[in-house]
């Protein structure tokens, strides 16, 4: 088990390094000489200052050396400086990361829990009205643009019904503490998490249903039936356990989509996470910040993949740890 984890961590680090290198070249693709851009943004664009900046950031050295400086910087958690926000990129991201983690993990939990539940229900009552209703709804949510359903939710629950707050992380200036504060954040979290999770819920519902129906026809289920086990036990112990494997795989694959979706959700709900930060960076063409968020979200996905890999091996003891 330990050697498996070590192996996966090493692999993750290699992928992360590759992403950092990709990032480095993407910065060079951005329009304009970085030093000139920086000088302009720092508010003083004369030749000497530009030359100073070049030297400071090593832009006058050959490309491989620049790459080395860049990788070293990231290794010491230095993601560069955002001139628009007048703060180090790493600090900006660190401030915003908890909100994004709260949002994505809640959305993930909701979507996986409800998705499996609805999938099981649809498979259990296959061919009935309930099955049709769940299948059709899942099909529709599977095709719904994330940013649009978020806006519709605001329209329904904030503008027309006035049940839930439509933006932000907490009620500004309310000064709640303790439980009141937690409830306040919770109320702000409901719509972003629900709308972000909806697409994934639809995916897991479809996957669980299809997978359950497939496993149901296998021989060992027939054997269990022949042994006279009760339906509920067969469904839970024999069918569901095996049917969940592809769903867990899919959940791992979706980590990246979830983080990408957070950009849209956080933008619509003004949720103060790194997705919103990416949008701000985009609007202001703050390339340092934009690429910093990109590296951090890639790292998040890598960690998430590692965790789902571990879970997968826990759920399915047939898989050997040292692959």
């Amino acid at each position: 088990m330990l050697s498996f984890i070590a192996q996966r961590v090493v692999k993750g680090v290699i992928v992360l390094l590759a992403i950092i290198v990709l990032n480095f070249f993407l910065i060079r693709l951005a329009p304009g000489d970085p030093a000139v851009v920086m000088a302009g943004e720092a508010g003083a664009s004369d030749q000497i200052f530009v030359a100073q900046l070049r030297e400071k950031f090593g832009l006058d050295r050959p490309l491989p050396e620049q790459l080395l400086i860049y990788v070293k910087g990231i290794a010491s958690l230095d993601l560069g400086f955002s001139f628009r926000q007048q703060a180090p990129v790493a600090k900006l991201i660190a401030e915003r990361l908890p909100a994004t983690l709260l949002l994505t993990l809640t959305a993930f939990a909701i979507s996986l829990g409800l998705g499996i539940l609805f999938g099981v229900l649809a498979a259990r009552f296959a061919g009935t009205f309930l099955d049709t209703a769940i299948t059709v709804l899942a099909l529709i949510f599977y095709a719904t643009p994330l940013f649009w359903i978020a806006l519709i939710a605001i329209l329904l629950f904030s503008v027309w019904a006035d049940w839930l707050p439509s933006f932000g992380y907490e009620t500004v200036g309310a000064g709640y503490t303790g439980l009141r504060h937690a409830l306040d954040v919770g109320a702000h979290l409901v719509m972003p998490a629900a709308t972000l999770g909806l697409f994934f819920m639809a995916t897991y519902t479809r996957m669980t249903r299809a997978s359950m129906l497939e496993v149901k026809r296998l021989d060992f289920v027939k054997t269990a039936l022949a042994k006279g086990l009760r339906d509920g036990i067969i469904l839970r112990r024999h069918v569901l356990r095996n049917a969940l494997l592809p769903v867990v795989t899919l959940a791992g694959v979706h980590a990246g989509t979830l983080v990408g979706g957070a950009v849209l959700t956080e933008t619509v709900f003004a949720w103060p996470g790194i997705g919103r930060l990416m949008y701000d960076a985009l609007i202001q063409r703050d390339y340092n910040l934009l690429l910093g968020v990109f590296v951090v979200s890639s790292a998040m996905v890598l960690i998430f993949n590692l965790v789902t890999d571990l879970v997968y091996r826990l759920v399915d003891p047939r898989i050997e740890y040292a692959s």
Binding site: L26, L29, L139, P145, L146, W148, L213
Partner: protein, 279 residues
């Protein structure tokens, strides 16, 4: 072929999907002839509610532009970007997957690590970064979407080729001294086509969603109106004018739904064994 259409038309999802897609194509191709004016032009006062003026049945937006005209011109962008970026993904993914599956060994290892790498990067975030850096235009959008969506194609084709290359007719071609390229192109790929077609139809749907998300964030081609841009533009005035946001979203939903349904129908028609097992 006739068998194919019969199965396709027997599945209700396939029929509904086809109807939606054909409708969308007709609107995209013919619509602009009925709306000779640019969708960017102000035609009425701003914020005309829908279903009140016959001239602008779906109302106008914050700048007095016709929402219906925007929907119709937007259909062109969505369908075009969806199709072309999927083609780009196929052009990258099919050869990579075929080479990896056919030659195996180190080549396979290297190519699959490369594919996995691209699959790990959060695709939407990468698409945002690419379009932002290359500057938003229809070309950069198509390139970015194509570039982030080829890995599943490569993996699928690799798997198919891997199982097909051990077949006897392929061995026969090898024995008769055909070149590798000829064998891959003429003997193997035609037989690996069905699952790729199914995947491609689903990819067009995903590409449309990606394009609309990009233009919602302000990364659309500034010269072409698109559904995502319309939703984004309506967002700030959603409290006063719901229709500016709602209608383009419905258009996106319907086209993506249609393509997904076609994907399911194609799956039933092309891989009958698979689909019967699946549900």
């Amino acid at each position: 072929m006739r068998q194919f259409w019969r199965t396709m038309l027997r599945s209700p999802s396939g029929i509904i999907g086809l109807i939606i897609l054909v409708l969308a194509i007709v609107i995209a191709v013919a619509g602009p002839f009925y709306f000779p004016n640019s969708p960017w032009r102000m035609v009425q006062r701003p914020f005309v509610p829908p279903f009140t003026l016959a001239k602008v049945p779906l109302g106008t937006d914050a700048l007095g532009r016709d929402v219906l005209a925007g929907l119709i011109f937007g259909a062109r962008v969505s369908l075009l970007v969806g199709l072309v970026s999927t083609l780009v993904a196929l052009v990258v993914g099919v050869p990579l997957g075929a080479i990896a599956g056919y030659f195996g060994g180190r080549v396979d290892d290297a190519l699959m690590r490369f594919t996995e790498f691209f699959q790990t990067i959060p695709s939407f975030a990468l698409a945002i970064v690419l379009v932002a850096i290359l500057q938003p235009s229809i070309y950069s959008i198509v390139a970015a979407i194509g570039l982030v969506s080829w890995p599943p194609v490569a993996r699928l084709v690799r798997g198919e080729v891997l199982s097909l290359r051990t077949r006897e007719y392929v061995q026969a071609a090898v024995v008769t001294g055909q070149s590798n390229a000829w064998i891959i192109w003429r003997e193997i790929l035609p037989n690996a086509l069905s699952p790729v077609i199914v995947l491609a139809s689903l990819m067009v749907a995903t590409a449309i969603l990606l394009e609309s998300s990009l233009s919602f964030l302000g990364l659309g081609d500034p010269n072409l109106i698109s559904w995502g841009y319309m939703v984004g533009a309506g967002r700030t005035v959603i409290r006063q004018a719901w229709w500016i946001t709602v209608f383009p979203g419905v258009a996106i939903l319907l086209s993506v739904l249609g393509l997904n349904l076609i994907g399911e129908g194609l799956n039933d028609a092309l891989n009958p064994r698979l689909s019967r097992e699946g549900r």
